[in-house]
């Protein structure tokens, strides 16, 4: 003989509509709170997906990178780059490496006829294109023969081509860099990150299109004259094998530097996991900030519920007189505050979702909404109603019938 939940909902709904203005003001805080939850979670989700897409674009998760460990304070002044001899040692220590690419990066001023271009050049192995999963779009890539003969050839990125050659075919032409004439044998494929957009640029991979590539031997023997290889990128046979290979390489390299961690050896998979972990922290922080606004919204609701109960003391007295039990009164007011926050939550979710494309256009980061975001936002808004509705509802249910009836 209890009043059912459905009954309480009906009473709650009619109360909600009877006091439209008040209800509207009450839910604003919740609307804003859930809206920010939806936007923030979609933003973090988008950044996360973009990171993974970026890793995949950069040659997949089986890749391993060896470079300088900037956290290591090199007080013993150990060499912080590899010699060609050491690179060969590293290569032979792990025959299971699928593709292996030691590299030197520097910058040169190129010229062709009256045009000039200042940009990055990498001295690399032919495996570069397979490690990075990036091939030439025209001409050919650097070959083993080029490497063994230290040929004066160069492969350029699309932006370099556009800047130096405009619409003309660059293949076979000679460009000058560092007083050496290098023959253009190929142009790399244009790189564009389709799955997302960078915060500052339109194309997250544009920096790659501005690069040029020459054989590592040409770089060491003819261009810089320095046998200092600062980083190595390589690919394991599979994503699963990458962590074991990484450990093995780390041991080899530690050995080369007397056990000092001058270099770090990172697998793309572990890096992706790290990035996802930091994204999770990021998400948690923003989620908590959104919760603060919901907390404020909840306090507003509690306040208004307390005022409502005060105002309706006589009504509660009447309900108790005609047979309402304490539980019925408690349920009536709890359901009402949950109803208010849930309606606010649904509006907030709708507003948040419709705002995603606007925010996306504004800050240039892709927003990815999914069902779990909606469920979290809904869950939180119901939770706020329960949490902040309980104490007013208890207060209402504890009213003494006689005093409630006397209340003016």
């Amino acid at each position: 003989m209890a009043i059912s939940l459905r009954e309480s909902l009906q009473v709650g709904f009619s109360d909600f509509w009877t006091r439209k203005v008040r209800s509207f003001i009450t839910i604003i805080g919740i609307v804003l709170g859930t809206m920010s939850i939806v936007v923030v979670l979609a933003l973090v989700n988008g950044i996360n997906q973009q990171t993974i897409a970026w890793m995949m674009e950069r040659g997949g998760l089986a890749n391993i990178t060896i470079d300088r460990n900037w956290q290591y304070n090199n007080e013993r002044n150990l060499p912080d780059s590899f010699t060609l001899k050491e690179v060969r040692q590293i290569r032979s220590s792990a025959p299971e490496i699928l593709y292996f690419n030691p590299q030197i990066s520097t910058r040169f001023r190129f010229s062709y006829q009256d045009k000039e271009f200042y940009g990055g050049v990498m001295g690399i192995y032919p495996d570069f294109s397979r490690v990075e999963e990036w091939d030439v779009g025209a001409g050919r890539f650097i070959s083993e023969h080029d490497l063994s003969q230290s040929n004066d050839i160069i492969v350029i990125g699309t932006t370099v081509r556009d800047e130096l050659f405009g619409n003309h075919d660059p293949i076979g032409k000679y460009i000058t860099a560092n007083n050496r004439r290098l023959q253009v044998v190929g142009v790399m494929q244009h790189r564009f990150l389709a799955s997302g957009q960078d915060v500052f640029r339109d194309n997250a991979l544009e920096y790659l299109n501005r690069r040029s590539f020459i054989p590592l031997s040409t770089m060491v023997n003819k261009m810089t004259g320095q046998d200092n290889i600062r980083s190595i990128t390589l690919k394991a046979a599979s994503v699963e094998e990458a962590p074991a290979l990484r450990e093995k390489l780390e041991a080899t390299i530690l050995n080369l530097r007397y056990g000092e961690p001058v270099f770090r050896v990172i697998s793309a998979r572990e890096r992706a996991e790290e990035m996802q972990e930091s994204a999770a922290t990021f998400r948690l922080i923003f989620f908590l900030i959104s919760l603060i606004s919901l907390f404020v919204g909840g306090i507003v609701i509690m306040n208004i519920m307390l005022a409502t109960i005060q105002e309706r003391t006589r009504e509660i007295g009447v309900r108790l007189t005609v047979g309402a039990r304490r539980r019925d009164v408690f349920l009536q007011f709890l359901v009402q505050s949950v109803l208010v926050t849930t309606i606010g939550g649904i509006i907030g979710i709708a507003v948040g979702l419709s705002m995603l494309s606007i925010v996306q256009g504004f800050i240039g980061v892709e927003m990815v909404a999914n069902l779990s975001i909606i469920i979290v936002a809904l869950f939180v808004s119901v939770g706020v109603g329960l949490f902040f509705g309980i104490s007013p509802a208890i207060k209402a249910s504890k009213l003494d019938p006689v005093e409630a009836l006397r209340y003016e």
């Binding site: 009877t18 009504e315 108790l320 005609v322 047979g323 039990r325 006689v402 009836l405």
Partner: protein, 227 residues
């Protein structure tokens, strides 16, 4: 005659800080089934407190109250709510209708707390309202009705669950003489239809409508007719 209410050595003491204020000192009384009893007394005499205890809205400090031979003084609050819902109908001086509900919804209220289905609720409420000539006012809000109409709605709400006892606290106090007489006529009709009626009033003319008048002075009851 069968006793429906039996009150023995009832006492109600309010504590205000360190001072105890007795509202009812020592009241014993009986009401038989089908009676129409008036309780008269000056303000502050304890008649409203007695009414609240009889109506299960309040509990005595000591003494016993038997309603249909069950000792109400020892009942739990949930059980009291059940009795208020099923056994007792309340009519107040100030009507106490819920202002944002229409006439029909106000009358359906006790049925809702009895767990009656919505369609059956509406049917029963309409039936009672028709008996009280309010069938044209179903969708009106209380504020749109005259005082007499409001009190009739309140009576409809009090009797919709067919309680054995109707308690009326100064039911004509806020009405003009003509409307008041209509309301008193309704109570007489209800009494003839079998409801036990207990009415609190300070108006001797009103009290004369009942079969019996109890006088309460300073928390003590003085049974008997004063004519």
């Amino acid at each position: 005659m069968e006793e429906i209410i039996k009150v023995e050595n009832l006492q109600k003491i309010y504590r205000m800080g360190k001072v105890s204020v007795p509202a009812i000192n020592d009241v014993s009384m009986e009401v038989n089934r089908g009676e129409f009893v008036s309780i008269m007394g000056p303000s502050g005499s304890g008649k409203s407190t007695l009414m609240h205890i009889i109506g299960c809205l309040d509990t005595p400090s000591s003494g016993d109250y038997y309603l249909n031979d069950a000792n109400v003084a020892k009942m739990k609050k949930t059980k009291l709510a059940y009795i208020r819902n099923k056994e007792i109908g309340f009519v107040f001086q100030t009507f106490n209708l819920l202002p944002h509900l229409n006439v029909l919804k106000n009358v359906e209220l006790p049925l809702m707390y009895s767990g009656v289905s919505p369609s059956e609720r509406t049917r029963q409420a309409k039936e009672v309202l028709a008996k009280l000539n309010l069938e044209n006012r179903l969708k009106h809000k209380p504020a749109e009705l005259s005082g007499g109409q409001r009190q009739r709605v309140a009576i409809a709400r009090a009797i919709v669950n067919n309680p054995s006892i109707v308690l009326a606290d100064e039911p004509t106090g806020n009405l003009d003489t003509s409307s008041g007489n209509d309301i008193l006529a309704i109570f007489s009709d209800l009494n003839k239809a079998g409801h036990t009626i207990i009415m609190v009033t300070h108006d001797r003319e009103v009290a004369k409508r009942s079969n019996r008048i109890l006088h309460i002075v300073d928390g003590y009851i003085k049974d008997g007719d004063i004519t």
